[in-house]
């Protein structure tokens, strides 16, 4: 008995000793998946984080889907919510008729997603700074981070005016609460970031490698920078930046206006020479059925394709948002070839391949509910041009499973560089440059018919006011439903030619305070009083 006790005692103490020795090993467990540190150690650069910013751009709705469309396009007189009367009814109040809301999915998301991008860029810049890496690849990646930060702040300052300037990496969430900064200091940050980006980013995306078309370039930084100066009326900076982009020799206008929007199988039409920066989307073979190969996340393309409602199922292409308004259709001269390349008419032919169509005839408009047909009279044809039936078949977005997640968002396109140049030159008194730049756009729009053409005739400079109005009008036709119009009208306010927000949008309910959207209530709530609501809300 005694002996057995001893044995048990020995076993017990042995077990305890083994236990305490192996305890540390038993408890030391790394994640069974990669961490950011693992990825960085494997790559030696900030590549993964940089590419993560493009992921954010493409998948966060504030950049790529309804909230972006609401804020940028639907607020303009060129575009309406679309869809049908039962879908997203509140958007009519909030964005078409300027009864802004303080707490809504679209506006909250818009705000949150832009700050998410800013903080991701801050984190990347912070790591880059602390690692003091100076190899060309890392610098390019830092350039991307600076670009996305500037891009996000620019969108915020346009939408809300003063916002908190978060240009630092923080760990403690309370450090992310800041009062509003002045618009000047926000622009100072944008300038600094775009200066860095324009120096760090490559001239051509090919410098990243062979399959990086669509990745950020100097041209993108300079074009965005020109836009930011346009909003500040720094005309000489706009002019010089536009010239830098033009003189880089990297870009050209496509001969056919509708080619800009082609987005077919195997990436045809994507990242064209007219595209300075494009949100790249992708849907693989049978992506609809597979799900996870649908990398477009539905946002951009699906939101703006024709909505079926009471029409046959082959017209189940998307959600039908961002459609032309009656105003746009009525005031647009039928002789402008861009009109039929921008507006898709219910009950009519899509115009066939010569107008960016696919040879189909749309079902007729029935009523606002689409009871027996389509619920809108017009649709956004720029996106429809990207709706290649072959791509639709290949990706499986057919029949009841509509959608078009493969379509890229052309964020910066070369045409804007010419129109910005024209506007800046005109304001600086350089009528000749303004006339020539405007002509470049009008000639291409006419189908390159040359100076003797009868449609979209050449506009000679006669006065600054005449040229200014002409450029303003051109911007509407060239960029209809691309998200420029509302902010253009705001920055032109007040205008003697009547093309400004107060005049054009007043019938829709616009008032001066509507220049800025109210800051989302959750952001105010979370700041516990540090962040103040915009005036007059």
């Amino acid at each position: 008995m005694k002996q057995s006790t001893k044995i048990f005692g020995m076993i017990a103490s042995g077990l305890l000793i083994v236990a305490s020795f192996s305890c540390k090993k038993f408890l030391d467990r790394k994640p069974l998946q990669a961490t950011l540190q693992d990825v960085q150690a494997a790559q030696g650069t900030l590549e993964a984080q940089s590419l993560g910013l493009y992921y954010t751009l493409r998948t966060y709705a504030g950049f790529s889907s309804l909230p972006w469309i609401d804020m940028h396009s639907i607020r303009g007189d060129d575009a309406a919510k679309g869809s049908d009367a039962n879908d997203g009814k509140e958007v009519i109040a909030e964005f078409e008729t300027f009864q802004y809301t303080k707490d809504d999915w679209a506006t909250d998301t818009y705000w949150n997603d832009h700050y998410t991008m800013i903080n991701l860029a801050n984190a990347e810049i912070h790591i880059g700074d602390s690692l003091k890496l100076t190899d060309p690849a890392t610098l390019r990646e830092l350039g991307e981070a600076h670009f996305f930060r500037a891009y996000s702040f620019f969108e915020l300052v346009k939408a809300y005016g003063q916002v908190p300037l978060i240009n630092y990496y923080f760990v403690n969430p309370a450090d992310g609460i800041r009062p509003k900064s002045s618009i000047d200091s926000l622009y100072a940050q944008i300038d600094a970031d775009l200066d860095t980006a324009s120096r760090y980013l490559p001239l051509s995306a090919s410098e990243y490698g062979s399959n990086y078309a669509g990745r950020l370039t100097q041209g993108a930084a300079n074009t965005l920078w020109a836009q930011t100066h346009l909003f500040r009326k720094n005309w000489d900076r706009v002019k010089s930046l536009c010239n830098t982009v033009i003189n880089s020799g990297q870009y050209s206008l496509l001969p056919n206006f509708y080619d800009v929007w082609k987005d077919g199988v195997f990436g045809q039409g994507k990242n064209s020479s007219e595209s300075i920066f494009e949100m790249n989307a992708y849907a693989g073979v049978n992506a609809q059925s597979i799900g996870s190969q649908n990398q477009g996340q539905d946002g951009w393309g699906t939101a703006q394709q024709v909505r079926k409602d009471g029409a046959p199922v082959e017209w189940n292409l998307g959600w039908g948002w961002n459609v032309p308004t009656d105003t746009l259709v009525a005031m647009w001269d039928n002789t402008d070839p861009r009109k039929n390349m921008t507006i898709l008419y219910s009950g009519q032919s899509d115009g066939g391949s010569s107008q960016g169509g696919w040879g189909a005839t749309l079902p007729a408009y029935s009523d606002p509910l689409g009871s027996t047909g389509l619920a809108e009279k017009y649709w956004n044809k720029k996106l429809y041009t990207g709706n290649d039936p072959a791509q639709r078949q290949a990706t499986g977005f057919v029949g009841g499973s509509g959608g078009a997640p493969w379509i890229d968002h052309r964020i910066l396109r070369y045409a804007d560089v010419y129109l910005m140049l024209a506007e800046a030159a005109n304001e600086l008194g350089d009528g000749a440059t303004a006339e020539s730049a405007l002509e470049t756009i009008r000639n291409r729009a006419s189908g390159n018919l040359g100076l003797t053409r009868t449609i979209l005739p050449h506009i000679a400079f006669t006065s600054q006011a005449q040229m200014r109005t002409a450029i303003k009008k051109e911007r509407l036709w060239e960029f209809a439903m691309e998200g420029y119009r509302f902010y253009d009208l705001v920055r032109w306010t007040p205008a003697s030619d009547g093309i400004d927000a107060l005049t054009v949008l007043a019938p829709l309910g616009y008032q001066a305070r509507n220049q800025y959207y109210p800051i989302p209530q959750p952001a105010i709530d979370i700041s516990a009083g540090v962040l103040k609501q915009n005036p007059n809300y």
């Binding site: 077990l15 879908d87 997203g88 969430p173 992310g176 079926k308 009841g400 516990a528």
Partner: protein, 1144 residues
């Protein structure tokens, strides 16, 4: 013979001892038989001198002289008596007479000089006793342990309450049974003994499971509630915990209407903002969920609530523990038991939605309100469907169980086989489960016991309609209430091409939801009826353990247990292609044009080992039980997913043979795989001491240190402790003269417990790696048609994280009075949770979520339990019991990192259903505007505070309260509009036994909580849904309503979270009514049946409530619960069942 005796006398070996007893018995019988005929020849003479030696030695010496041989039981105590002998030439009989004088020994001379020495006073005359054990009212009690006092000899009663046991004729039988007072009966030679056990409201000496051991309840200083397995076995609930609702004070249970879904269960309040469900300890192994268990396999469930019993569970103890003991064989008999229940589930009191007429009225009005003049086209929409009815049914519930158990002195064996079928009231959704349970325990010798236990289950998981497993239940009912009543439920025949071939056939197909509600609203029948049987989803689970228990040095026990729990889920889902038609245009649409297959496999492995050393001793008035040991735990979870789409051969056939990724029907280019995996471990040391002095003063103490692989920083190892004290007043002299109280004990305990919360801040699911910057899975970026891997952090890690701690106190008393008929128990508890593991969700700051420690919350309350037992007549007895728990909860502080100082959980498309967790308030309270009415007119609007800060509004819209009183209504006027936690919960039961009948009624309820109803209040702006029936009372002109706003989904002003959505959550329910009949055992004996019981049961017979949803029960997680999303988890049916229980 002599040799045999010697062996018997000296060997300590138990086996041989047993042999001896048998042989000795035989011999005694033999002796008795011989007595009559034996010639007494005791005239031989002996001479002998011995000083102070044992009598046996004397006998031994006589034997050595050669003439006589002796036969005696060496265990007789008097044989060891020391005597001095100094005789010369004395007759042997004279010598023995003298020597035995004054002792109880006598002798008998047999033939051949054989002398048998026996004790005359305690002649070990073992007799066979049979008898019956009944309850107070005469009902037979089965499974009562009948043991011989002071020995290990025991048996248990059969289902008729009968037992047979062999006992020394002067022995004492001890009858013990859970829920009854232990009774001792002196045998005194009776051959038939009938014991009537008094039900004990408080089985004082009842043995309860306390974690890493058992203890007499008397020795504890905390409140532990034990529930007999019988109470849950015959209830129609798949998850055994569901049956505890309203039964135990301090335990708040919200059940789910979905088969296989766990109930939301919280013990003594919401103790965390993370995990709130208790730990389950099933025969020692830690579990988060016990839905794999068969209720019929459960012997007992113990609910542990107080610090002194929970500290031993360390980092997992804070949310309370439910310890479950599965059935093992009872001592001494073979039992075959068959148990079968058939039940019918029916949805009662379902919410009402607009019928065709109401819909048309309201829709026309809505269109007018939104300015649409085109009349709607209702072609083909001429039905009047009750969609809730259309997707629900009278469902079936069924259990069948067979168990066999048998035991001998050395081996206890039991096995069980069970089948459970649980249909949802929602069409086609059904769970099936098969269980096998094996246990065996073997006594190697007096010191070593080994055993194994194995539970195997195969669950056929219910079809998941939504693809995503939503905790709020399936969307079928939510979809059903959204569809307009104008849509018919039937199919329509079309002549169409066979999607799986080339021929054309007549096909009956379902309609889509009409175009007027195209977005997001679906005809639930279309998907359900086409896809419910295309999923094969089984979970196989094997939970096993093996133990060895060694007793040594009299006071010590070493127990080693190893556990394994392997669970494998295998799911194959086939996406068929099928037609649907537009009900208006009759256009045909193909759903899922490309068939596809998805395979999923989830393996979970858990391993646990416990090494526990226990010391147990009683000396003088001191009683000590001390345990110590260590335990390790490993959990690994490995998930793999694969998908493939049809290839060039066309659709993958609708045939189970081909529902795999690779069958050559797939397009290899589309075959993709993904997976996820994690693991974590803990290593823990623990110790506990239970001490009492004179069974009057009790002290307990426990400590546990947990090391966790999930924490790499300074807080990897954390310690938890508790101490408790008890005082049994009734043992004091000053209580001796009173006759009211039979038993009074005061007790209290204090300790620090841990909560191993594991969060995934982005999804709310378990995230095992909170300390590493892991990435969002599957993040890619395309450029052109090339995909690149990208990195997006999944959340922000905090290197200083620690598990949260709960500082808990309990004080209480329990008392039995009036001849133990009244039992009362009272507890006051207070639990302060510190270092709350807080998810910092700061979307508005544009940062990823993280988990940090900070903040505290407090739960406190009182629990009262009382019961009364009385036998009214010989045939009639009554049991009444009740419990009530008053509970309060308050957030004391929250992390300063939590910007805004509160946790805001929102749901619905526009985030208007808000649950706030904020210091000074109860957890997860509802936040929004106070509705005071409806604006009746433009004039009403102008004379009221301006509300334009919220949005544009018109007559017919909500009038909110100006809470701040600043003359305008804006976001600052939002306030607390409800609290999802009840003020008190209660339950009770009444039991009547009359002859063979048994009637039990259980009631329960909660009071003082609110429900936030999102449907018919906060619909998504992206869809148009059917109206709730009550919306007919909408405002449609001055004076028409001051509560329900105008119908106008374009008026988003009305889609603010407000008190309009708040409904009372109080309810009172007749939870269960059961009538049983126990057949007369004499009659049954002819059919070789020991026992037969039939019963009928109704669960959720009637609920009195104030809310408009399916039921008043809405669970959730810690910081968002009590929200009515109109989903199926709250669709709790009434279940009528009948069953029988037969024992052979």
């Amino acid at each position: 013979m002599k040799k045999m005796l010697t062996i018997g006398g000296l060997s300590p070996h138990a086996v041989k001892k047993a042999l001896l007893v048998m042989k000795l018995t035989f011999l005694l019988v033999f002796v008795a038989a011989l007595q009559v005929s034996a010639n007494v020849s005791g005239q031989g003479r002996v001479s002998l001198t011995l000083k102070q030696v044992e009598i046996s030695r004397v006998l031994n010496s006589i034997e050595k002289q050669g003439t006589y041989r002796f036969l005696y039981n060496s265990r007789l105590t008097t044989i060891r008596k020391k005597v001095s002998v100094d005789v010369t030439d004395m007759t042997i009989s004279e010598l023995l007479k003298n020597m035995f004088n004054g002792t109880d020994l006598t002798f008998k001379m047999l033939e051949n000089n054989l002398i048998v020495v026996v004790s005359n006073s305690t002649a070990p005359q073992d007799i066979k006793v049979t008898g019956t054990v009944t309850g107070a009212s005469g009902e037979p009690l089965s499974g009562v342990t009948v043991s011989v006092k002071g020995t290990a000899n025991a048996t248990s009663t059969d289902n008729n309450g009968n037992f047979t046991i062999t006992v020394p004729e002067k022995g004492t039988l001890v009858f013990s049974y859970i829920g009854y007072q232990t009774q001792e009966v002196a045998v005194n030679g009776q051959a038939v003994i009938t014991a009537k056990l008094a039900p004990s409201t408080r089985a004082l000496d009842e043995v309860v499971v306390i974690g890493y051991g058992q203890a007499s309840k008397r020795d504890l200083t905390g409140s532990i509630v034990k529930i007999d397995g019988k109470e849950i076995a015959d209830k129609p609930n798949v998850n055994p915990v569901s049956s505890l609702q309203s039964k135990v004070a301090g335990v708040y249970i919200v059940n789910s209407g979905d088969p296989g879904q766990q109930p939301d269960i919280r013990i003594r309040g919401t103790t965390s903002i993370g995990q709130v469900h208790p730990l389950y300890v099933v025969d020692g192994i830690f579990q988060d969920d016990i839905s794999y268990l068969n209720a019929n396999d459960i012997e007992s469930m113990e609910v542990l609530k107080d610090p002194s019993s929970l500290a031993i569970f360390g980092v997992k103890g804070a949310t309370g523990v439910i310890a479950i003991t599965t059935k093992k064989a009872r001592a001494g008999q073979t039992i075959i038991n068959l148990n079968s229940t058939q039940g019918w589930k029916k949805l009662v009191d379902a919410p009402k939605f607009a019928d065709a007429t109401t819909f048309k009225t309201l829709y026309a009005e809505e269109l007018a309100n939104t300015g649409i003049t085109t009349p709607p086209n209702f072609t083909g929409l001429d039905a009047n469907t009750d969609w809730i009815k259309a997707v629900t049914r009278t469902a079936n519930f069924q259990t069948n169980n067979l168990s066999i158990s048998s035991s001998t002195d050395k081996n206890k064996f039991s096995m069980g086989l069970g089948y459970t079928k649980d249909q949802s009231v929602v069409n086609h959704i059904q769970l099936d489960r098969l269980n096998i349970n094996l246990s065996d325990e073997y006594k190697l010798n007096k010191f070593i016991r080994v055993g194994t236990n194995l539970i195997v289950s195969r669950t056929h998981n219910p079809y998941i309609y939504d693809d995503l497993g939503d905790v709020n239940g399936s969307n079928v009912l939510n979809d059903a209430r959204q569809v307009v009543p104008l849509l018919g439920t039937g199919t329509k025949s079309f002549r169409l091409k066979n999607l799986y071939g080339t021929d054309t056939t007549n096909q009956n197909i379902y309609p889509l939801a009409p175009t007027l509600q195209l977005a997001g609203v679906v005809n639930p029948l279309l998907k359900l009826n086409n896809e419910y049987n295309k999923t094969i989803d089984y979970t196989y689970r094997y939970v096993g353990s093996a133990f060895a228990e060694i007793n040594f040095l009299k006071y010590f026990t070493w127990r080693t247990t190893v556990y394994g729990d392997i669970s494998d889920q295998n799911k194959r889902q086939y996406r068929p292609t099928y037609y649907a038609f537009d009900p208006v245009s009759l256009a045909i649409q193909v759903q899922n044009p490309l068939t596809s297959v998805q395979e999923k496999s989830v393996t979970t492995r858990k391993f646990q080992q416990d090494q526990i050393l226990t010391f147990k001793s009683i000396f003088n008035e001191h009683s000590i039980t001390a345990s110590g040991g260590f335990t390790t735990y490993y959990l690994g979870n490995f998930e793999r997913d694969g998908k493939a789409v049809q290839g060039t051969y066309g659709p993958i056939p609708d045939d189970k043979r081909f529902w795999y990724i690779t069958t050559n029907f797939e397009d290899p280019a589309t075959a993709i795989a993904s997976g996820s995996q994690y693991e974590y471990t803990t290593v823990s040391y623990l110790g506990r001491i239970l001490y009492n002095y004179a069974n009057k003063y009790y002290l307990t103490g426990s400590y546990r240190n947990d090391g966790s692989s999930q924490i790499s920083g300074p807080h990897r190892h954390q310690g938890f402790w508790a101490v408790g004290a008890g005082w049994e007043l009734t043992k004091e002299n000053f209580m001796a003269s009173q006759h009211i109280f039979d038993f009074v004990k005061l007790r209290g305990s204090v300790g620090v417990l841990g909560n191993q919360n594991t969060y995934d801040p982005s999804t709310g699911l378990a995230a095992p790696y909170l300390f590493d910057e892991v990435l969002t899975a599957g993040t890619v970026t395309p450029f052109g048609n090339t995909l690149y891997s990208a990195a997006q952090p999944a959340y922000k890690p905090d290197p200083d994280l620690a598990w949260e701690t709960v500082h808990a106190q309990e004080i209480g008393f329990e008392a039995n009075a009036l001849n133990n008929r009244l039992h009362v128990e009272f507890n006051y508890y207070n639990k302060k949770t510190e270092n709350l593991m807080t998810v910092i969700t700061n979307g508005a700051l544009g940062i990823f979520n993280e988990v940090t420690n900070a903040g505290s919350l407090r739960n406190w309350g009182e629990e009262v339990t009382a019961s009364w037992n009385q036998r009214l007549t010989n045939d009639l007895s009554l049991r009444i019991s009740g419990n009530i728990t008053f509970m309060k909860n308050r957030i004391e502080a929250l992390s300063p990192l939590l910007a805004g100082g509160k946790i805001i959980r929102t749901s619905q498309n526009n985030g208007q259903q808000a649950s706030y967790t904020q210091p000074g308030y109860p957890i997860a309270y509802f936040y929004g505007y106070q509705q005071v009415g409806i604006y009746q007119s433009q004039q009403d609007i102008s004379s009221s505070p301006d509300a334009s800060a919220i949005g544009t509004y018109h007559p017919g819209d909500f009038k909110f309260k100006d809470v701040t009183g600043d003359g305008k209504i804006d976001v600052d006027d939002r306030t607390k509009i409800g609290d999802p936690s009840p003020n008190f919960i209660y339950g009770g039961s009444v039991g009547l036994t009359w002859r063979h009948f048994d009637l039990g009624v259980d009631i329960g309820g909660v009071h003082g909580n609110q429900i936030f109803r999102t449907w018919a209040a906060l619909e998504s702006p992206y869809q148009f849904v059917n109206y709730a029936a009550f919306q007919i009372n909408r405002w449609h002109g001055p004076g028409t309503s001051n509560k329900v706003p105008q119908v106008n989904s374009g008026e988003r002003y009305n889609y603010q979270g407000s008190s309009y959505s708040i409904e009372s959550g109080s309810y009172f329910r007749i939870r269960n009514v059961q009538l049983a009949y126990n057949f007369d055992t004499k009659m049954l004996a002819k059919a070789y049946i020991k026992n037969l019981r039939i019963f009928a049961n109704v669960q959720n017979l009637k609920t009195w409530r104030h809310n408009s949803g399916f039921s008043p029960e809405f669970g959730g997680d810690a910081t968002s619960f009590g929200v009515d999303y109109g989903k199926s988890s709250s669709a709790l049916p009434m279940i009528t069942s009948v069953g029988l229980n037969v024992t052979f």
